[in-house]
């Protein structure tokens, strides 16, 4: 077991190093993206541009620039090109909004995903299953930001039942915090609910035909007991691991579209703005941070699986 964990962690570190290199390279291939020229402004002379390039290290070879950026990232002193603000501070400022969004939406989609999935799996092929299945597919087929825009129009612009966006810290005013986050939570959750309910339904229906379920019935256990102890337990494990990864993705700023449309000023929106101004340092840090979250959670999920299910070989 220890060997498996060590191996999995070593893989994780390799993937993270590759992610950082890959991210850096994406922004190196921009042809007319000379950051020194952008920093210097429009009226700068070639000499000024050269001076800026020297002081920021843009005249160094790519690998030197990469190592310097990484060094700055790990010492927490990395600043953005465009505004020269400390990037880590900016991310820390965006984190409460992103975490509030992720936690609220995560709870909603896990809970409703399981409930809807179980309701559909109860009597497959019947009316309830069909209706829920159609609704789930509709939710999966609706882009979250379109849903968000329509909800904003109906509940904020048209009727002003709810505010039009922005984030209010929980510590300032819990009620306003809640009111400002209701629409983002719903917009973000619906597609996940649809997806999770379909996955869970499939898992339950597959599990019903497993041999251990037949065995449990043969032993004379009641239908309800077989359902809860055998079918449900095994169907829920993949759902929870899926949830871990999706949740990590949202915390890591993956809900860019929802954060932007509701103007939550979270980590994802910071990433989107930095990308549009071709500001490399913040994007590097956010991508690293997202990558760390996702890869670490994925490794944890794998280890948890190996722990829960002895059939998984620890050597691969």
């Amino acid at each position: 077991m220890t060997r498996f964990i060590v191996r999995r962690m070593a893989q994780t570190v390799i993937v993270l190093v590759l992610i950082s290199i890959f991210t850096f390279l994406i922004f190196q291939v921009i042809p007319n993206g000379d950051p020194a020229a952008r920093l210097a402004g429009r009226t700068a002379s070639p000499d000024q541009i050269r001076a800026i390039a020297r002081s920021w290290g843009f005249d160094q070879p790519i690998y030197v620039q990469y190592l310097r950026t990484m060094q700055k990232i790990f010492s927490g002193s990395v600043v953005s090109y465009s505004q020269q603000i400390n990037v880590v501070d900016q991310i820390r400022r965006g984190l409460p909004a992103t975490v509030s969004l992720a936690v609220g939406a995560g709870v909603i989609w896990l809970l409703f995903g399981i409930v809807v999935g179980l309701l559909s799996a109860l009597r497959p092929g019947r009316v309830l299953d069909r209706v829920l299945g159609f609704l789930a597919l509709t939710a999966i087929s609706t882009p979250a930001f379109v849903l968000g825009a329509v909800l904003l129009y109906v509940f904020a612009y048209r009727t002003s039942i709810l505010p039009t966006g922005e984030y209010v810290p929980l510590t300032d005013d819990p009620w306003q915090w809640f009111r400002h986050l209701v629409l983002p939570w719903i917009s973000l959750s619906l597609a996940f609910i649809g997806f999770y309910s379909r996955v869970l339904r499939g898992n339950v229906l597959d599990a019903k035909h497993e041999e251990y379920v037949r065995m449990a019935r043969a032993k004379g256990l009641s239908g309800r007991r077989v359902m809860v102890r055998h079918v449900l337990r095994n169907s829920l494990i993949p759902i929870v691991s899926l949830w871990g990864l999706d949740f990590a993705g949202v915390i890591g700023g993956g809900a860019i579209l929802i954060e932007s449309i509701f103007d939550l000023r979270g980590v994802g929106q910071y990433a989107a703005e930095s990308i549009s101004t071709l500001d490399v340092p913040p994007i590097m840090v956010i991508v690293m941070y997202t990558g760390v979250l996702v890869v670490v959670v994925a490794a944890l999920v794998d280890i948890l699986y190996a722990y829960l299910d002895p059939r998984i070989s620890l050597n691969t």
Binding site: P124, S141, L257, I275, I286, V294
Partner: protein, 329 residues
């Protein structure tokens, strides 16, 4: 059904059986009709533009006036509010802030969204199956390298990676020797979406290849001195076909959705080219006064993706030998 089993015995292929199950699925038939209808409409975009609307997808009419039900109205009012749906041949579904005909742009935009969705899927499937075959069949260091590469792509949220590459490429385009794609080409978003989606297809297929390579028929081919490439193509690939068939509609649906998201963030289809994503993102800015600018492309997008998803699920059920237990009919 005993009759069906008998016919299986007399040599009806699994795909024939699947098609038979698919034809009995009413929802799938309706979805197929809707999808084919949407594709047909989008293909007819130039005809509609030329013969009905008398304007192109990029033509601005913001200073012009149009006659609606006996009244003469500005296409875009003095305070910048575009005209809503007129239900006439001119501006059937209204105009956008530049006075462009929304119905015409909807059809051209649909064409672009579908082109991006299908080309991206083709790129994903081709690359992912190739990677999965090599990684899963050879194992060892090839597998390690390829699997780490997939992990790297997979660790980014798709939209974050897509926006990063998209912004970078839409500025400069691609020039690799003889291959030159300009920054505003449709194939840039297609390439990006195709690339970003690779791990979601390659990972499950790789698992399947690993299982298949231990099967007796692969051993048999090996003892007959068949090379690795030959075994992959003639022994393993045909056994992946049902998985591939199931994944294609899923990837088309995902690609169209991702195109919309990327375009909203300015990293997808580049304006003034219409796509459903760019139309929605233009519309969001005017949503307080003209919600139809979001609703029209939004509904078209949801309807298209929904019909693909229903079809995809029906195909999966039809190919699954346990489908009877799933739908119980």
């Amino acid at each position: 059904m005993p009759g069906e089993e008998l016919r299986v015995g007399t040599g009806v292929g699994p795909y024939r059986l699947a098609l038979r199950r698919l034809r009995r699925n009413v929802a799938a038939l309706v979805a197929a009709v809707v999808f084919v209808g949407i594709v047909a409409c989008c293909l007819c975009a130039p005809l509609y533009a030329h013969y009905v609307a008398h304007t192109g997808p990029l033509d601005n009419h913001e200073t012009e006036r149009v006659k609606v039900g006996g009244h003469i109205r500005d296409v875009v009012s003095l305070i910048g509010i575009p005209i809503g749906p007129t239900w006439h041949s001119h501006f059937l579904l209204g105009a956008d802030f530049n006075g462009r005909d929304v119905a015409v742009r909807l059809l051209y935009g649909g064409r672009n969204s579908l082109i991006v969705g299908f080309s991206a899927t083709a790129i994903t499937m081709f690359a992912a199956v190739l990677i999965a075959l090599f990684a899963g069949y050879y194992r060892g260091w090839i597998d390690s390298v390829l699997a780490r590469m997939l992990d790297v792509i997979w660790a980014y949220p798709a939209i974050l990676l897509g926006v990063a590459i998209g912004t970078s490429l839409s500025l400069g385009g691609i020039s690799l020797g003889p291959l030159k794609i300009s920054g505003d080409s449709l194939y840039i978003p297609a390439l990006i979406i195709g690339f970003v989606n690779i791990p979601y297809v390659a990972k499950p297929i790789r698992g399947q290849v690993i299982a298949l390579r231990e099967k007796e028929f692969v051993d048999a081919a090996r003892t007959l001195d068949a090379g690795g490439l030959r075994i992959m193509m003639t022994e393993i690939l045909p056994n992946l076909s049902s998985t591939i068939v199931v994944l294609v509609p899923l990837m088309v649906a995902n690609s169209i959705l991702l195109e919309a998201g990327l375009s909203y963030l300015g990293a997808g289809v580049q304006p003034p080219n219409p796509s459903w994503g760019t139309m929605i993102s233009d519309g969001v800015r005017l949503i307080t006064t003209s919600p139809f600018l979001v609703l029209v492309p939004g509904v078209a997008l949801v309807l298209t993706v929904l019909s693909i998803n229903i079809l995809g699920e029906a195909v999966r059920d039809a190919l699954d030998p346990r489908a009877v237990t799933r739908t119980r009919r």
